[in-house]
Amino acid sequence: MERRSFLKGGAAAGVALASGGVAAPAYSQAANRTLRFVPQANLANFDPIWGTQYVVRNASAMVWDTLYGFNDKLEPQRQMVEAEEVTDEGKTWTFRLREGLRFHDGEPVRGRDCVASIRRWMPRDPMGQLLRAATDEIAAVDDRTFRWKLKAPFPKMTMALGKNATPMCFIMPERIATRFDSFTQINEYVGSGPMRFERNEWVPGARAVFSRFDQYVPRNEPASWLAGGKRMGVERVEWVIMPDPATASAALQNGEIDWWENPITDLVPVLRRNRNIAVDIADPLGNIGSFRMNHLHAPFNDVRVRRAVMMALSQEDYMTALVGNDRSLWKPLPGFFTPDTPLYTEEGGDILKGPRNLDAARALLREAGYTNAPVICLVAQDQPITKAMGDVTADLLKRIGMNVDFIATDWGTVGQRRSMRNPPNQGGWSMFHTWHAGADAINPVLYNAVRANGDGAWFGWPNVPAVEAEVPNWLAAANLAEERAAIARLNRAAMENVVYAPTGFFLSYQAWRRNVTGIAKGPLPFFWGVSKS
């Protein structure tokens, strides 16, 4: 502990005598084996398939293991699986588990645990739903093997089982996976991963504690994101939830915490100046900001109005408001897929490029017959990302002459109201802001928000047959070139019809104290390989 303690120093003897508590030297030794981490949000509940919050996924990745895992090139690698066999023209998959896999209660991981976990996961996941529709039968063969028979080949099987997009397919004991169905939260956290969740030390909203599971058998390969050997370098990981970024910043500087998941960019210069703190990009896959429109009602049911917004929208304004003055933290995004990934394309994105044309936007609005109908904007104030974007939107819409009805509310209300299909002035909505992790926007099956199947689509219910037609084309593509062609056509159709308006691609930082080593960049914080000196 670096911080000099005024009271402690002055009363060291008194502490030992009077309180009978833990004496200072012993305490700091134990502290070197505990990693104190400030997560992006509160860990309120802890069931990996129950919701899609990233913070739940991040914690779950410590507690449960997966059959496959993406490495840093987004390629699914075997994790719990030792080998798989694909027969019958791609319709039958036989998986064989590694030796020595155990749950936290000491039981070995068996084939039927995998089957039960997969069955619980499938209804909640978009790719899982596709798999379920294609499943003929899935059953355990013996303790270390299970077999999955499909009605049609599913080449992306390992991607589905190894992806990091939520919800991930984690393996839990059969008794838990069958006791709680896909729509009921689990309340037992027996995991298969390298860390055990200490439920009796959990204070929701304040602290979550994980301790090393010594019987975990890591793979031999070096760790790479969710693939490879997950070797824990510390004995305990404490998640400290801090509602106030200024407090977290001060705590990091003072050595009271070790690792901060997402420091706000304005505080990064202060952290950088501190010799004991290191700052780097958190996730090269970044995030995509979203201006989500309601295609069911006026004014955004008219594609011309949507395009008018796209003409006037300045991604620079949005991104600067979001991540500040650091230009290296954002990229313009004239497309829907994550930059620097295989399927990234700018096809059809010219409307977002070049100087902004407000006059053309206003003209297009007039042509579309927009006559001052109020635009109901749902803006959550308790999420810094949506709050910043909301302010920019209010300004933007006013400047092109739209009548803004700004509803400043909280994330919960946005979540409820955006599911309403009523007209905006009867409890519905016209637009809301959100963001998507870059890791989720790498292809159409991981990416709800780009789908446009009308009533079955995500909130906003865009209906663009041209987009939907490309999804099976992509699934059936034989090689990368065909995939890219399909995605390019999809992107163009999505742009021309404005499925939603991307406000830009942005990165964020993470910060840690220099006595902590092994911190990797990735879509989620990886706790294996991290140690403290």
């Binding site: 200024a246 910043s249 304005d266 620079e316 003055n325 810094p384 400043a408």
Partner: protein, 302 residues
């Protein structure tokens, strides 16, 4: 100066100067203000703040909602006297316009809570049947910490100045009604009120002639404290995220938005904090002064 012979052991009092101030200053407003410096000081500051609120558009301010993300988080300078916030908005303009909101909230809550509390207190004091129920309800509401009550009420509705005013008013009403009821109950026992009732004077007249004048003093003092407390409560509500929407700047939400940056750009929190503190201080001083002037015995209860 007379020379009186004093008994041994007793010291003469220090000679006093001219005890009687000039006749002119003794009477009138100036005399009043000179005798009550707290009212003078507090009142002056409040007046200053009110003028800032009223004349905000003319005090070299820009549009407080104008975004300029390229100019975000600039230090105070010649073009932006209080600097800019994280969206590039001019803090000086926002703080000055924020005066409007904060004063509006403070005054509205004070007036509304006093009026409604007065009514409820009068009803409760006079009509025994209603008293029991009303006082139970008021006790119940007072048991819930006012901040929690206000947050809960704000969580029911969307953030707006009107809803903030309503929420804080509801939280403040019980105390006012208690106060008024107390006065009414004690006055009812007074002989002259008794006489009036015996003489057949109708209740409204009794209220108007006897009760109201006596409630006015403590009510006014209480109203000033409510005003000050409402402004702080609005700041806290905004701090937590349950206050006025950011499109309408108020000192509370300027501070709330700038809180994350106070270590690097303290001016975003600093300037509204100063304005808020000065105004609340002024209103409190005004209340203290009024209380001392009207009836110093109130100090025990308030």
């Amino acid at each position: 100066m007379s020379t009186t012979v004093l008994p041994p052991g007793v010291n003469a009092a220090a000679p006093m100067g001219d005890i009687m101030p000039p006749v002119i200053a003794r009477r009138g407003v100036l005399g009043f203000l000179r005798r009550n410096p707290t009212i003078a000081f507090g009142g002056l500051l409040v007046l200053l703040m009110v003028s800032v609120a009223v004349f905000a558009p003319f005090l070299f301010t820009k549009d407080p909602t104008a975004l300029a993300p390229a100019l975000r988080t600039r230090e105070p300078s010649a073009t932006h006297w209080f600097g800019t916030d994280m969206l590039g908005r001019d803090v000086y303009s926002r703080v000055l316009y924020g005066t409007q909101v904060s004063l509006l909230v403070g005054f509205s809550v004070a007036v509304l809570a006093s009026a409604i509390g007065l009514t409820i207190g009068l009803i409760s004091g006079f009509i025994r049947a209603a008293d029991a129920i009303i006082m139970r309800v008021m006790d119940g509401m007072m048991s819930i910490p006012p901040i929690l009550l206000a947050i809960a009420l704000m969580a029911l509705t969307r953030g707006s100045v009107r809803n903030v005013i309503i929420a804080i008013t509801i939280a403040e009403i019980p105390r006012v009604s208690r106060l008024v009821r107390g006065v009414v109950l004690s006055l009812r026992e007074q002989p002259y009120v008794d006489a009036a009732v015996a003489a057949g004077t109708r209740t409204p007249v009794i209220i108007w002639r006897h009760i109201l004048p006596n409630t006015l003093a403590p009510l006014t003092v209480q109203a000033t404290y409510i005003c000050a407390s409402a402004m702080i409560t609005e700041a806290i509500l905004s701090f937590i995220g349950a206050g006025t929407p950011p499109i309408i700047p108020s000192w509370g939400n300027i501070m709330a938005e700038g809180r994350a940056l106070w270590q690097v750009k303290p001016y975003i929190v600093f300037f509204p904090a100063i304005f808020l503190s000065v105004t609340v201080l002024a209103v409190n001083l005004l209340g203290d002064g009024l209380r001392d002037a009207l009836d110093p015995r109130m100090a025990k209860r308030l």
